[in-house]
Amino acid sequence: MICLSNAMHITASVFINDDEPGLHQDFEVWLERLAPEKPYSQYRHNTAEDNADAHLKRTVMGREVVVAVTAGQLDFGPWEQIFYGEFDGKRDKRVLVKIIGE
């Protein structure tokens, strides 16, 4: 069996990494350096919106993960944890989980 889990929005991510708050802070700082939120005007996308950085950040972090399911459990390494990364929040958004196999 395999399990697909993906963000259904183009300004959010599903990714697998460490459940450690220091790293989460590091991700935030690093993503801000790679694709800064401001000035909004630096991005052509930001004529009507202000979330161009969110599109770029989610591109770095990824849209989805595909995880093996064996003997009824997710096949993870020792530290793998699944996360949702929100880059343009404050509204209802969805994550899809699709599990197929026997």
Binding site: I2, N6, Y43, T59, L96, I100
Partner: protein, 138 residues
Amino acid sequence: MKSLTKEIWMNVPQRRAIVSIHNEVERLVEQSGVRDGLVLVNAMHITASVFINDNESGLHHDYEVWLEKLAPEKPYSQYQHNGSEDNADAHLKRQVMGREVVVAITDGKLHLGPWEHIFYYEFDGNRKKRLLVKIIGE
């Protein structure tokens, strides 16, 4: 289990471009007859990407500028890969954008959010290249 495999040929007449492949993938899902499953869409070349994001031209321009900042094309000599080739930047850019997407199929259709759109991103064009669509399910 049903499956459908299709290689789609591209030939982008410039070095870099974003090309929509969304309708083609939708058609293939319909053709497969799969009601519930998954579709894998991936670039078959290591200097190209398949990704999902917004079908908005301003953002596409932003991607081009941003990727050139992260992994500039020139000078070619800055990259050790560029001994006999000149496309090291294309390999790096495609790593940022991704190789593939895996999309759920539910009730015979691509199961997508409101703005999700499937694209091919060429980083080293001017030649024939392929992407793969593999659909599996019931």
